[in-house]
Amino acid sequence: MKIAVAILAGLLFGLGLSISGMTQPAVVLGFLDVAGQWNSRLLFVMAGAVLTTAIGYRLVWQRGRPSFGGAFLMPAPQRVDGRLLLGAALFGIGWGLAGYCPGPALASLGAGLWPVGLLVLMMVVGWWLAAKLPVRRDEKAARLNP
């Protein structure tokens, strides 16, 4: 059952990305290009996703525990620190260079475009490299998720 719901969640996520325009780097770069011909579609994706999640999370949390897992696993609250800001900044630069964040990059693999495969490969290398960096004990919890 865990595998089945994970596949279903992946399917929903992938469908959402591909109908919303997120798997079109031209749309994503257009959103980030505020000085050019601004494309507002991403704003609607974010609004739809955040509102739905915000309402749904609260309903689900009221049930006390997840259906198949032990507990709701969430990052322990921490302060905003340098590592978070540096990471977000590097991610933003990479996002702005090509117009791919991790979800759309992975969801686009099925189209068989080799430059997308290259981007995903380098992204995996990046995850692996960054995981080699020393971590403070209090940061470990948050790095399990999201």
Partner: protein, 141 residues
């Protein structure tokens, strides 16, 4: 359907996915966390691979249903793609999340870290596009 409506509907589907994952497995629908865990030795691999399989199959299913997968072409040449991938990988790992984990799930939880991270990656993304497109004249394919 109007692009705005399609985008909002796509956002709702992403939200439903996040709710499903939280309600059943108790996990946050953060793609960099789910997939990154596979690259960095997470032990709970089954559901991660299953989620990714669904993610990759979805656009193909859409292509089969309506003849268009929704997948667009890369806009920049391959060295930029490689550099972008590396930065996205390192950045999302260091920052503990990406557009989904911080931008959607984190903001929905009103997490101050996620709000800060989202603000920073959108602003640096905007700055990067500005520099590449308007100061350097583009990173053409």
């Amino acid at each position: 359907m109007h692009p705005w409506l399609l985008s909002a509907l796509g956002g709702v589907l992403i939200g439903l996915s996040a709710i499903l994952l939280m309600g059943t497995l108790g996990r946050i629908a953060g793609i960099s966390g789910i997939a990154g865990g596979l690259a960095t030795g997470a032990t709970d691999r089954g559901w991660r691979w299953a989620f990714l399989a669904g993610l990759v199959i979805a656009p193909l299913l859409l292509a089969w249903l309506r003849g268009d997968s929704g997948i667009g072409l890369p806009q920049v040449s391959w060295p930029w793609m490689a550099m972008a991938g590396l930065l996205v990988g390192i950045g999302t790992r260091l920052g503990g999340g990406c557009t989904s984990g911080h931008g959607v799930c984190g903001i929905a939880r009103l997490s101050p870290r996620s709000l800060a991270a989202t603000l920073v990656f959108v602003l640096t993304g905007v700055a990067t596009v500005f520099v590449v497109r308007h100061l350097l004249g583009g990173a053409s394919a």
